[in-house]
Assembly symmetry: C2
DNA sequence: TTGTAAGCGTTATCAA
DNA sequence: TTGATAACGCTTACAA
């Protein structure tokens, strides 16, 4: 590994000059630039990230914390974070918050000792303690909105669920069951529930709600309970794509056609929504875009919260209800 | 951010002593240890990763390079890498190789300037150029086996596909179509194809093969071609779970029952295999375990290649063929 | 058992 | 336009 001194020696200049050339700072003639670049080339010199970071008190790493590394929603956001970060010359350090952000503090501490340029928290709210532990490292939450205290990038979950429910109502559905998530652990669930309830109330329809834990396996039993309470449901609105996909499958297993007998609507527009047949209609959040914007916001130092537009994607799992 | 000098001052000792205590090196009395720990506590001191890495010429980062950040298979491996790395006190830097490892070299260069303790390459073979660019950073491939030149952790893909095909044959299937992947881009496809062909040949059955690109959307048309060539197929072996899931859905769309009319077998045991109905039978690789072992191998410095056991998982998508 | 001091590779200040 | 030189925060001989 060639160092800046090796390059300097070979180019017959001082390390300082090499640094200037490499970093594009003013103060060198084009003749020296030529020689330096040549030496850099020949030696395959790359500035040491650690040394540079130590000196500048700012490293080129961005942290990204996800509830689980293999979480489908988080993956999309991470994808956006990675591409934006790489474009800006930053490396992405990956961490897992675990259920209820148990590991978040540890990671933030670690990221602080890296002098990270910022940290993106996916599906996790920033707590005052996190804020404190992070020191001067800027934080931003993505895909979750936690009051206006800390910066976040998210859709308006209440409105999105409201719009989606209204869409089902407009299609002619009245008996719409909600397959909600665990309100305690995942913050987006409460507003989504409220959005559904508001739309149903405004339409004079009676809400009917059961809870899963947002994952695939929790949906069939919850759907069972929903159907016990109202066997004549014509639509099920699941607050995650995994649950939505499970509902599509489970309904068909029970001999109901989708969407002819029952329409199904998911949430998030993760890849899962395209892995069932009929493909799941769903409420899309611009997840990858959120990841990109998060990086940008962290680097700008603007750190402003922003609400991004949601969008209803109609695939094959929704239609007008059958006329009986 | 408190530095080691701040701690030293407060504890009334030298920075060297603080370092010794913090790093658990011998050479201090329990009285001083007490004072140092107290000072560390009070100041919330955390050793600076950058400075430490610069000094020791070894940073606490492990790189992990995946074809795409949101790739389901890669996600599982990354999950193992993350947990093993964290347990050992390492941070994980995430990179994307893109199709055909176009970005890999850039990331390796970057990881080298980080003095990374090692790099895990997922679904990507190590090329001599990568090896060169990485300098003294150890590399290991996961979920792909590329001769014996460079270290890798993988299953025996040929044998796994062979075993899976034999399993279908034993169930009584003879007309088994193979839905292969793109042999050029993904190295595991060729051995898997060979395994299928060998099993079919040994059984005296005629192979029939079509190619997709391993992703969901490529499967329906490829299945169409397969069925055109032999409308009486009783089983389809797809070389990825995404394609397998698509086949399950597409067959049902075409009015064939799974598994009664046609059995379907996938490959990899990613989450996708559980997101269809009937759930996809598949060939499992210990992906998460591979990620953990990769980290361990990198840190041990053993860097030996290893073949891990595959396993057939029977879910609902396979059964004996119907007797006509 | 403890401290002093050098130095990891870089950048930034200052002087030339 | 350039070059010395002093840090950045840490570890590690070596000395005491």
């Amino acid at each position: 590994m060639a160092t800046i001194r090796d390059v300097a020696r070979r180019a017959g200049v001082s390390p300082a000059t090499v640094s200037r050339v490499v970093n594009g700072l003013p103060g060198f003639s084009s003749a020296t630039e030529e020689r330096v670049r040549e030496a850099v080339e020949q030696l395959g010199y790359e500035p040491d990230t650690l040394a540079r970071g130590l000196k500048t008190m700012q490293s080129s790493v961005m942290g990204v914390l996800a509830p689980a590394v293999s979480d489908a929603l988080a993956s999309e956001v991470m994808s956006g974070v990675e591409s934006a970060a790489r474009q800006q010359g930053y490396s992405v350090v990956l961490g897992r918050t675990g259920a209820g952000s148990e590991y978040a503090l540890g990671y933030l501490r670690s990221l602080k000792t890296f002098r990270a340029a910022g940290v993106v928290l996916i599906s996790a709210a920033i707590t005052p303690e996190m804020r404190r532990v992070a020191g001067r490292v800027p934080l931003i939450s993505v895909a979750i909105r936690d009051g206006a205290t800390f910066p976040s990038l998210a859709i308006d979950d209440e409105k999105a669920a409201y719009d989606a429910t209204v869409h089902l109502l407009r299609l002619g559905h009245r008996r719409i069951g909600l397959l909600a998530g665990d309100v305690g652990s995942v913050l987006v669930n409460a507003p989504r529930e409220r959005g559904y309830l508001r739309a149903m109330r405004e339409a004079g329809a009676s809400p009917i709600l059961e809870r899963g834990n947002s994952l695939y396996d929790s949906a069939p039993p919850a759907l069972g309970r929903l159907l016990e309470r109202d066997p004549d449901l014509t639509a099920v609105f699941a607050l995650s794509d995994e649950m939505g996909a499970a509902v599509v499958n489970e309904l068909q297993r029970r001999g109901r056609r989708v969407p002819e007998d029952v329409s199904v609507l998911g949430f998030d527009n993760t890849r899962t929504s395209r892995h069932v047949h009929p493909a799941l209609s769903t409420v899309a959040q611009p997840l990858e875009r959120m990841g990109e914007l998060a990086v940008q916001s962290l680097l700008d130092g603007t750190g402003r919260s922003k609400i991004l537009p949601h969008r209803l994607i109609e695939r094959g799992s929704t239609s007008r209800p059958r006329r009986d």
